[in-house]
């Protein structure tokens, strides 16, 4: 584990009735789970829900007191399968992951879970990674909910609504024997707000009590004929029960408006943006009053027909605000109104874009378009709303287009993955370009400058499998990459096992940075650290050999660029059959520095001898060709004016954020670049022996230097 502490956040989980909780949306969900008497929580880390996992991983004390079992699942599939505990037993369970990536992985278990149904409340906290800041393919979880018949909650993005919906999700699940998804968008996960806490509740039936008194009912097992019965149950029993619950609890909200002719039906998650758009158009205020009535779907699946009919009836036109595609809700609403013979005109994707995030600016345009079509007389009463288009088209702003450089994410200062791709670049310089199958993880930043390596990415741990078709006789081999996170998630079987079984000939690079670094440093099977709550230190090397890989090389210091390069070279050229597995292993520098820097500083403060390496560039030796940067891209390695009129191009420089990883020196050595780089080992609290040696050396070196300096003719 990266040894980050979430102690403060854990304290927030202890808040009792009446206390004010202040914090992030996803932590509010975490607290709400405990307030709901959840019996177990599982999940797979990933933005934007990582903090739920991280905080619970640090909250063993509270979890122990409440009797809550917490698992860091091997994958979302494992997490989803965990909900099986709620099938037969009245125990509430929650799982979480990033969606739709995680939902894809989990879908087998989810389908089975949804088929048999649940007894205890089963809630799936979905971090909906759609729109700006997302790191995955742009899709909706909505389709999954519909196809498996899992209820989908989409709360208004404020902490009170999110917490209230989380609690009621369990009740809805129990009332309708159906798992429930709680969809929380990226910004809502990260929003800072507050709510009034309640006491945490212990589960009514403990997991131990359940397994000591097992219960079974073959009617809940997904096998014919029960599976056919499930399909009928879903429609005949569970759906009506859910609709009744949603109606009774008023989970969907209607906000009245004085303009009787119009209305807006919106996903709960869109509420704040719609309100801001209405406010900027002069149709709402910041305290929640609106002139156009809103019907807020905090439950986006299933839709409650009669509520929608009641809202739409009597209105001339209703706008559906539904982010993402296709327009499931809009289509459904049209059908509902058609069946009820209600003539209200439905607008939706006609005035709003079919795809992409609904920002306030997009919504302003859409709402204006809706009003222009449905009630043009109202336009005169409205504010124009902000419109930066003219300004953005101005020559002054346009002149910035070629100036402002893109700044895609990249490897951090000192990242141990950088030298892997430096080495890969060097090998390609020698052996020509190769097909490189990339994977999910920080290593995917190799596709960006300066490396520009990698062709496809097909899913977590699927790098090697995505090169499967190319395992044919050819003059070149494929290179595929995956991280340790991807390896344990999927890659061991679908990547390495598949490659061994199908006698692949390609090269597989497993980037092992000692834990799941990209998602925040969570432990996995091969983590190097000991973890009291988990079993770690299971080497990746043992695993790949265990599934039959023969050509396996482990490099325990990726910064050794020459070895990295030579190993890749060997893997690409060896006559040995079968997949060539390279395990490139060094700890994530971001997390390592978070852990080590305070320790280092404390040791220096105590007066202990400590050595801090960092790199530098001799400015009079650097010629400003920037070859080093093209093989590195390190944030601490930059360029500056040479200050010498003879050198026109800027020269390389290393700033004080350098962590002394050694990549610069190793690359300039391996690529035979230039002798400008030096490593400076800064010795804090030197010993007497250090000082004596230094004094002697300085005497001799200083003498020689002065001797040469006096003879040297200098024009100043």
């Amino acid at each position: 584990m990266a040894e980050r502490s979430f102690a403060r956040e854990v304290e927030d989980l202890r808040l009792g009735a009446g206390d004010v909780f202040r914090g992030e949306g996803i932590l509010a969900v975490t607290k709400a789970l405990l307030q709901s008497g959840v019996g177990y929580v599982a999940g797979y880390q990933g933005a934007p829900i990582s903090h739920l996992m991280d905080v619970l991983a640090d909250a063993q004390g509270i979890l122990g007191e409440l009797g809550v079992h917490f698992e860091s699942s091997a994958s979302e599939a494992a997490a989803a399968a965990t909900l099986a505990a709620s099938v037969m037993y009245p125990i509430r369970g929650a799982v979480t992951w990033k969606s739709t990536a995680g939902t894809n992985v989990a879908s087998d278990a989810l389908s089975n879970l949804a088929s048999g149904g649940v007894t205890g409340g089963a809630v799936i906290v979905i971090g909906e990674d759609y729109g700006e800041g997302s790191s995955i393919m742009q899709e909706r979880t909505h389709a999954f909910a519909m196809k498996s018949q899992i209820w989908l909650l989409d709360p208004r993005p404020n902490l009170e609504s999110i917490v209230s919906l989380t609690e009621q999700a369990f009740e809805l699940s129990e009332a309708s024997n159906t798992p429930v998804m709680l969809e929380v968008r990226i910004r809502a996960c990260h929003v800072h707000g507050s709510f009034i806490a309640k006491d945490n509740r212990k589960p009514t039936l403990s997991l131990a009590e359940a397994i000591e008194n097992p219960v079974r009912d073959t009617g809940r097992i997904v096998l014919p004929p029960a599976s056919f019965v499930h399909e009928q149950e879903k429609i005949k029993t569970r759906l009506p029960a859910a609709l009744a619950f949603i109606r009774a609890r008023g989970l969907n909200e209607t906000m009245p408006g004085d303009i009787a002719e119009l209305g807006i039906v919106l996903q709960g998650g869109m509420y704040n943006s719609v309100m801001r758009a209405l406010k900027l158009l002069g149709l709402a205020d910041v305290w929640g009053a609106t002139r156009i009535a809103l019907h807020v779907l905090n439950v986006t699946y299933p839709l409650v027909d009669d509520e929608l009919i009641a809202f739409c009836a009597g209105k001339q036109a209703v706008l559906v605000v539904e982010e993402g595609q296709p327009e499931f809700i809009e289509q459904a609403l049209n059908t509902i109104l058609r069946r009820a013979d209600i003539q209200t005109r439905i607008h939706g994707k006609g005035v709003l874009p079919m795809a992409g995030e609904y920002t306030a600016l997009v919504l302003i345009e859409g709402i204006r378009g809706f009003i222009a079509a449905a009630m043009p007389g109202l336009l005169a009463e409205m504010h124009p709303g902000p419109d930066p288009r003219a300004q953005l088209a101005s020559p002054a702003v346009q002149s910035l287009a070629p100036v402002v450089p893109p700044r895609p994410p990249s490897f951090c200062t000192g990242c141990p993955e950088r030298p892997i791709f430096s080495a890969m670049t060097l090998v390609q310089n020698e052996l020509g370009p190769h097909h490189i199958a990339a994977d999910i993880g920080c290593h995917l930043f190799s596709i960006n400058p300066p490396f520009n390596l990698g062709t496809t990415t097909m899913g977590y741990g699927l790098g090697p499998s995505s090169a499967a078709a190319f395992q044919v006789k050819a003059k070149k081999r494929t290179i595929s990459v995956m991280g340790d996170g991807g390896f344990w998630h999927n890659g061991l079987l679908n990547g390495v096992g598949n490659a061994v079984f199908n006698k692949h000939d390609g090269v597989v690079v497993v980037v092992d940075n000692h834990y799941s670094a990209a998602t925040g440093g969570q432990d996995i099977l091969s983590s190097r650290a000991t973890n009291a709550a988990r079993s770690t230190q299971h080497p990746i090397e043992d695993a790949v050999r265990g599934v039959g890989a023969k050509w396996v090389r482990r490099i325990d210091r990726t910064y050794d660029v020459a070895t990295m390069r030579d190993t890749l070279h060997e893997a690409l050229t060896t006559a040995e059959p079968g997949p060539k597995i390279i395990i490139a292993s060094s700890e994530c520098m971001l997390n390592r520095q978070r852990r080590e820097r305070p320790l280092f500083n404390a040791a220096v403060k105590r007066g202990e001898r400590q050595v801090k390496p960092r790199f530098g560039v001799d400015e009079d030796i650097c010629t400003g060709d920037h070859a080093c940067i093209r093989l590195s891209g390190c944030p601490s390695l930059s360029v500056k004016d040479s200050g010498d009129p003879l050198k026109q191009d800027p020269i390389a420089t290393i700033d004080n954020s350098c962590v002394g990883c050694g990549n610069c020196g190793e690359v300039s050595e391996a690529a035979v670049l230039c002798p400008s780089f030096y490593r400076a080992d800064i010795v804090h609290n030197p010993t007497q022996w250090d000082l004596l040696k230094a004094r002697l050396r300085r005497a001799v070196i200083g003498f020689l230097q002065r001797r040469r300096d006096t003879g040297r003719l200098v024009l100043a």
């Binding site: 933005a47 729109g131 800041g133 404020n158 910004r187 809502a188 990260h190 929003v191 800072h192 309100m275 801001r276 910041v286 305290w287 929640g288 306030a360 600016l361 419109d387 930066p388 300004q391 002054a396 702003v397 910035l400 100036v403 402002v404 450089p405 700044r407 994410p409 990249s410 300066p450 971001l590 960092r614 030796i621 010629t623 060709d625 920037h626 070859a627 940067i629 360029v639 004016d641 003879l646 026109q648 191009d649 004080n656 020196g665 050595e669 670049l673 400076a680 800064i682 010795v683 804090h684 030197p686 230094a694 050396r697 001799v700 230097q705 040469r708 003719l713 200098v714 024009l715 100043a716």
Partner: protein, 516 residues
């Protein structure tokens, strides 16, 4: 619902967008603003989309603040900035300020832009073989023209000088801007309450605060951007060291510069003399002037550009980087002092320096007397032996005697340099190059050919690649013979050669030239 015009902070929230790069502490700044507002009894909401952008990418934090009307009233706040409706934009880096403008977050009627004018270069800017740095002045101009108020200074240096981080200086500038209805003490109390690095943060806060209202830091930052520091060498020059005879010869060289060369070229010629006296000898420096003299004699280019560029590029060509030069530079006392200051070592620290060298057979042969070098170079057997003996990475600790002394001895080979293989090769190349330039009746073309020398830089493979690009550009000359725009084509080819390492642009440009 209210019908009167919006009052900021009452009917509409104060909206703040923070543009930062991952790892810059944009989140800390956002949290401070929230704590400040909540402590003042306001409702605050912040959100962000860090995602993968936390790995050095551009990222944005968004804050809204509003004063509650009555107890328990709950505002509906936005989770993202609305272009055209942002009151304050804080940019933790100059290009991020530019990005905020491009996103429409800066409105002339509304937005106070507080930006740090320092640059953190993007990879594409750094990786260019030439100078790929973005034009800071363009952002500065546009920001000034686009924002209602534009407050900027190098907040990064300001914070570093106080041992703190940029968020503290930006927080200070925010307080100083007066855009938030909280007193300075409330800001400072927020930093104190956060309890991390309080005193340095308060000093950086004060420095940031002082940038607002006092024109100096802003003017200094603007001046640094608009006129990058390229100090002309001071004239008159002073001499140190060497023998009396050497100093007399140097005086004569300075006199030659004054008497025989245009005044516009004097600073560059001084720089050249300084470099070559240091590189080899005063006699070598005179040879340098001899090489420029023919160009100066005929120079009728505006601003004596031909002489000026000859002075620049001949100096660089004549001071080619060989192992003797590298050994000399690495072993100097001044260099030891510079390393200590570059790595911020104090008196209490010892600094040990390790150099990364990778001598190749080519370099070894080049450092042998010319005939011997050639003989070895053409003997595969000897090359093989040398390769086995010497050609592997060497880490030389120059702060130890057994690391320092071999380099010191290598540097002492300087007097023999003119007889070595490398020197003969470089000299031959310079002669061909200058003869080619000198043969042109078109002085603009001659100037452009002189400037092509910029392509040759770096060591080993990089150097060879530069050389081959140089050769390719020069190879277009016959195709351009007699054309009035030959100079422009050579300039275009050179710019293309500097655009990418592999020379893709150059090859394309050469194909175009072939069709002329």
């Amino acid at each position: 619902m209210n019908t009167h015009p919006d009052r900021q902070g009452i009917d509409r929230p104060i909206t703040i967008a923070i543009m930062a790069m991952g790892g810059q502490g944009g989140g800390v700044l956002a949290d401070w603003i929230v704590a400040l507002a909540e402590h003042g009894g306001w409702v605050a909401q912040t959100t962000s989309v860090p995602g993968v952008a936390q790995r050095t990418g551009a990222t944005i934090y968004y804050v809204e603040l509003i004063r509650p009307q009555q107890r328990n009233s709950r505002p509906v706040l936005s989770l993202m900035p609305v272009p055209g409706d942002v009151d304050i934009v804080i940019a933790a880096e100059l290009m991020e300020a530019g990005r905020a403008i491009q996103r429409g977050l800066i409105s002339p009627d509304k937005t106070t832009l507080i930006a740090s004018s320092h640059r953190s270069l993007a990879v594409v800017e750094k990786a260019s073989p030439g100078d790929g740095r973005a034009d800071s002045a363009a952002v500065l101009h546009t920001a000034g023209a686009t924002a209602l108020r534009f407050i900027h200074a190098d907040m990064q240096s300001m914070a570093e000088a106080q041992g703190s981080v940029i968020s503290a200086a930006l927080f200070g500038a925010l307080a100083g801007s007066g855009t938030l209805p909280f007193p300075r003490e409330a800001f400072e109390d927020t930093i104190r309450a956060a309890g991390v690095g309080v005193n340095p943060s308060l000093r950086a806060f004060a420095a940031g605060h002082a940038t607002v209202g006092s024109p100096e830091p802003q003017a200094a930052a603007a001046a640094a951007i608009l006129a990058p520091a390229r100090p002309p060498p001071p004239i008159p020059a002073t001499m140190q060291g060497g023998s009396a005879a050497e100093r007399a010869e140097l005086a004569r060289a300075l006199h030659r510069v004054a008497a025989d060369f245009p005044a516009e070229a004097a600073p560059m010629l001084h720089a050249g003399l300084r470099r070559l006296v240091d590189y080899q000898s005063i006699a070598y420096a005179h040879a340098y002037l001899d090489r420029i003299a023919p160009f100066a004699a005929i120079d009728s280019t505006p601003g004596h550009e031909l002489t000026l560029e000859a002075a620049r590029h001949i100096a660089v060509a004549m001071s080619y980087d060989d192992v003797i030069r590298v050994a000399d530079l690495k072993t100097r006392g001044a260099r030891f002092a510079r390393v200590r200051s570059d790595v911020l070592a104090t008196q209490d620290h010892l600094v040990e320096t390790t150099e990364f060298m990778h001598p190749r057979v080519q370099e070894i042969c080049a450092t042998l007397p010319a005939r011997l070098g050639l003989y070895v170079e053409t003997s595969p057997r000897l090359c093989g032996v040398l390769k086995r003996l010497f050609e592997h990475p060497r880490r030389i600790r120059t702060t130890t005697l057994h690391g320092f002394i071999p380099l010191y001895i290598l540097a002492s080979l300087k007097p023999w340099r003119p007889r070595l293989l490398r020197h003969q090769r470089e000299t031959a190349h310079i002669d061909i190059w200058l003869a080619l330039a000198g043969a042109q009746s078109d002085q603009r073309l001659a100037t452009e050919l002189i400037k092509c020398r910029r392509l040759i830089k770096g060591y080993s493979d990089t150097h060879s690649r530069g050389q081959s690009k140089f050769d390719k550009v020069i190879s277009a000359l016959p195709l351009l013979a007699g054309r009035g725009d030959a100079a422009d084509w050579i300039r275009r080819l050179r710019d293309a050669a500097l655009a990418d390492e592999a020379g893709v642009m150059l090859d394309g440009a050469l194909r175009t030239v072939a069709t002329l």
